[in-house]
């Protein structure tokens, strides 16, 4: 019996491990090998070519910075939009709660691509939305929104919004209401109760939401492809172009690794920082 109990966990881990090995670790190994080759398709040869990595950073630093700027801004806007919304759904929606949650998820019933293409129409030069922006002076009279960086950020915000809302909602929804009541009993104002009880307790949701938004947004290329222009391409577009039209697989592989490393570093720093924030919040409790 004991013997079997010891085996069961490994058995349960099996499918996931095999999946990761086959579709993550093995391709990663080949990508690493590829990133040290030189030449383009047709003349590839392995040569410990670390130059691919320095080239990746020196040739495409603009696109890297732009990617993180766009995805960072998109994450921030998502957070500012999502938190009040998730808060309302969790605490104030009453019988509308399920309907509102459904509304958050509903866009997923349409594919990512179609939703992004729809923004081409929404932000088109003659669209009512852009006319309105011109009216309030946010866009110059002869200016346009589509094919600019703003359109790319707008697309990112729209596409990744549910990934921010849902984790925040989940963590807010789990908060024991009695804790907030207790805070008020101890003479905390509503505002103080929010800042010192609700917000710290929802921190895990915020951390999860920002990661789920920031990571995929950094590597995204669809929004820049459809809503951006030549000056707004993100690092994902560069990788796509290197792989598919320039056939420079080593450069593309090296670039992918650099992107992965930077995202990993950013995430680790963030988690450390956000983790200690959450702890401080608990201390104050």
């Amino acid at each position: 019996m004991a013997e079997r109990r010891r085996i069961v966990p490994y058995f349960l881990l099996g499918p996931g491990t095999v999946w990761l090995l086959l579709f993550f670790v093995v391709p990663l190994f080949y990508m690493g090998y590829l990133s040290l080759e030189s030449g383009i398709v047709g003349s590839l040869s392995f040569s410990w070519n670390w130059g691919n990595y320095s080239d990746a950073l020196s040739l495409y630093d603009t696109q890297f910075l732009r990617s993180f700027l766009y995805s960072g801004l998109a994450t921030l806007i998502c957070l500012l939009v999502s938190y009040p919304l998730a808060y309302t759904i969790a605490f104030r929606a009453g019988r509308w709660r399920n309907a509102l949650l459904f509304a958050v998820v509903a866009p997923f019933f349409t594919t990512y691509l179609i939703r992004t293409l729809a923004w081409e129409t929404i932000l088109s030069d003659q669209s009512p939305a852009v006319d309105a922006l011109r009216l309030i002076g946010l866009v110059p009279a002869d200016g346009h929104v589509l094919a600019t960086g703003s359109a790319v950020i707008a697309g990112l915000v729209y596409n990744f919004l549910p990934f921010m809302i849902l984790p925040i909602y989940a963590s807010l929804e789990q908060i024991d209401q009695r804790l907030i009541e207790a805070a008020k009993d101890l003479y905390a104002s509503s505002r103080a109760a929010f800042w010192r009880v609700t917000l710290p307790l929802s921190a895990p949701g915020i951390v999860a939401g920002t990661l789920l938004t920031f990571i995929p947004a950094s590597g995204d290329y669809v929004n820049a492809q459809f809503l951006g222009s030549a000056g707004n391409q993100m690092i994902g577009n560069v990788i796509q172009s290197l792989y598919k039209t320039q056939l420079d697989y080593p450069a593309a592989a090296a670039l992918s690794f650099v992107l992965m490393a930077i995202i990993m570093a950013v995430v680790l720093i963030y988690i450390r920082f956000a983790g200690s924030e959450a702890l401080m919040g608990e201390d104050k409790l």
Partner: protein, 394 residues
């Protein structure tokens, strides 16, 4: 055809563009996987000819054709079905060529092994046909099997520079690159040079296809693209880069410029003749114009790769679509320049309007100033494409 389009249908353009992008994403994923599998088998390039097709008796069996999307009349009454009925050959027609370079990237590891992935016919643009031939990836054709091509190929396409005797390529469709304008919004645009007029700032699209856009811009500088040096290429790329930075160029497109023209987001673009014919059918304000400095001329060609199964059936297909009746059916749907003699006479009876179109049946005077789509030498190719992609991904 250019970087990101086959012909477009009257209805399927947007869906085509979307499908194309999605296909790219998928192909990227598959490409990485295929790469992992194929990595061990990488060798160095061959060279010269891939031999000559060997015909065997009556054509029969199975045939796989790779072509650009929306580049043939589809459906039960379509050319593929009629060919199957006429010959008993079982055709698998796949639309997996979205971009010459992409397609090359996908096929190259196989071709290097002397295999074609089961395909017997590819359709690729002139420069790619030459590149594949120079690498030894194509078979020479047995002219015995394609008498209709010998008989009906239009004279202007019989002796192109890259294949003077048409030894390994047979034109599928041809077309012209020039400007497409919204006559109501930018009536004065008559050449590629006019696209740099600040009046149209943020309202012009350029093609992302290097070999189409850059030579057309060269003509503005008084350079003949057929004799251009690497420096000429670089100068024109620099000029385009400036127009991107000043906000003059809205974006680079494949034939998804159709969307921008229709909505009026773009008032003039660099674009292809066949697309304009179709767009005009929906919106009479859209018009293709022969640039005052001349247009670019290109063909997409049927070729038979090394290792192609059933080359006999492949030649039977080429021969079949070179009957004027069959070619007319295709031309009526795709609206590009047909390479087959005798189609005009058929159209004069059935579609008199199309028969008169200079875009489908251009006269020698009409294309007098045009140049054949430029080739880059092996040494020029890498620096020029690199500079170009730096502009596209700025």
């Amino acid at each position: 055809m250019g970087s990101s389009g086959g012909a477009t249908s009257r209805t399927g353009r947007l869906i085509g563009a979307m499908r194309q992008k999605r296909a790219r994403a998928l192909a990227l994923a598959l490409g990485v996987a295929a790469l992992a599998l194929g990595l061990a088998a990488c060798g160095s390039g061959g060279g010269g000819s891939g031999g000559t097709v060997e015909l065997e008796g009556e054509p029969s069996g199975k045939l796989t054709i790779s072509n650009w999307p929306l580049y043939i009349d589809p459906g039960k009454e379509g050319t593929v079905k009629e060919f199957e009925k006429a010959t008993g050959i079982d055709v698998k027609y796949i639309e997996d060529v979205n971009d010459n370079a992409e397609f090359f990237g996908k096929m190259q590891p196989l071709l290097e092994q002397g295999e074609s992935g089961g395909r017997s016919v590819f359709v690729v643009t002139d420069w790619m046909a030459k590149k594949m031939h120079d690498l030894g990836y194509l078979q020479n054709l047995d002219k015995e099997g394609i008498p209709n091509v010998e008989k009906n190929l239009v004279s202007s396409l019989r002796n192109p520079g890259f294949d003077p005797n048409r030894d390994f390529s047979v034109p599928w469709q041809s077309g012209m690159g020039g400007v497409i304008v919204r006559t109501d919004l930018a009536p004065e645009v008559r050449s590629v040079c006019d696209l740099f007029d600040p009046k149209y700032k943020g309202k012009v699209d350029f093609l992302s296809e290097l070999r189409e856009t850059v030579p057309l811009v060269m003509t503005c500088e008084g350079v003949n693209p057929e004799e251009a040096t690497e420096e000429d290429w670089m100068n024109s790329i620099e000029k385009i880069k400036g127009a991107v930075e000043s906000g003059q160029i809205r974006r680079f497109t494949g034939n998804d410029y159709a969307r921008d023209l229709t909505s009026g987001d773009a008032v003039a673009v660099i674009g292809w003749s066949g697309d304009a014919v179709q767009l005009q059918a929906d919106n009479p304000n859209i018009e293709w114009r022969m640039p005052t400095e001349g247009c670019s001329l290109w063909s997409d060609n049927m070729v038979i790769p090394v290792g192609a199964p059933n080359p006999t059936a492949a030649e039977a297909w080429m021969n079949y679509v070179y009957q004027p009746q069959a070619a007319a059916k295709i031309a009526e749907y795709v609206n590009y320049v047909t390479p087959v003699e005798g189609v005009k006479q058929i159209f004069e009876k059935t579609e008199p309007e199309l028969a008169e179109s200079e875009l489908i049946f251009p006269s020698a005077e009409f294309t007098a100033k045009c140049f054949t789509q430029a080739q880059l030498s092996e040494e020029e190719e890498q620096p020029v494409t690199r500079a170009w992609n730096a502009v596209l991904n700025g």
